[in-house]
C-alpha cells in the first residue's frame, strides 16, 4: 500500500539541488591534507589490474618486506601519513636509525666506540639533496657509503 508518492514542491527543489551537487561531488582527497609531492592522480587502469591494495597492505609486516629504497621513498615522499609512519617502523625493524639533526636514516654496523654529535660509524644513505629538494624524481638515487 505504500507505493510511490508524487513529490511535493519542497522535495522537487531538494532534488534539483541534489542533481546539481551530483555534478561536483566531494573527492576523498578533499578530506586529506594537501600532498605536495604525490597528489592523487587517479588513473583508469585496465580492469584486470589489481584495483585494490593487497590485503594487510597497511600493516608493519607488509612494509617490512618492502625493499629499503621503497621504504625510503615512502618515508620522504609520503610525509605526514600513515604510510610514512609504517615505513619508519619497518626501517627500524631493518635496524635503520633516524638521525633527527640531519633528518636522515643510517645503519650502524656495530655499536660505535665514540658517538660524536654529528657522525656515527655506519652506513649512511647519501642522496642528491638538491634533486630531492626540488622533488625531482628522475635521477633520484640512493647511494650507500660506509663511513669509517
Amino acid at each position: 500500500p505504500l507505493g510511490p508518492v508524487p513529490l511535493v514542491k519542497d522535495h522537487l527543489y531538494q532534488l534539483t539541488m541534489l542533481d546539481a551537487a551530483y555534478q561536483h561531488l566531494p573527492h576523498p582527497s578533499d578530506s586529506e591534507r594537501l600532498r605536495h609531492y604525490l597528489p592523487r592522480c587517479p588513473f583508469p587502469t585496465p580492469s584486470y589490474y589489481y584495483q585494490l591494495p593487497p590485503p594487510h597492505a597497511d600493516s608493519v609486516d607488509f612494509f617490512t618486506r618492502l625493499s629499503t629504497e621503497t621504504l625510503f621513498f615512502i618515508f620522504y615522499y609520503m610525509e605526514g601519513t600513515k604510510a610514512q609512519y609504517l615505513a619508519a617502523k619497518a626501517l627500524k625493524k631493518q635496524s635503520w636509525r633516524f638521525h633527527t639533526k640531519y633528518m636522515m636514516w643510517f645503519q650502524r654496523h656495530e655499536e660505535p666506540k665514540t658517538i660524536t654529535e654529528d657522525f656515527e660509524q655506519g652506513t649512511y644513505l647519501f642522496f642528491d639533496y638538491e634533486k630531492w629538494g626540488q622533488r625531482k624524481k628522475e635521477g633520484f638515487t640512493f647511494e650507500y657509503r660506509y663511513l669509517e
Partner: protein
Amino acid sequence: PGIDLTTLGLNLNSPENLYSTFQSPWAEAPCRPQDIDFHVPAEYITN
C-alpha cells in the same frame, strides 16, 4: 531485492575496524596508508 552489499568495496570480514580506513561514502575501496593523515613525530616532517 536490494543489492549485494559485499560489492560496495568494504571488507566486511575484516577483524579490524572499518571506520579508520573508510575513504568516502562514494569510494569503492578503503583508504590506502598514504591517504591517511597521521600524527607522525615532528622530526619526520622533513620537507
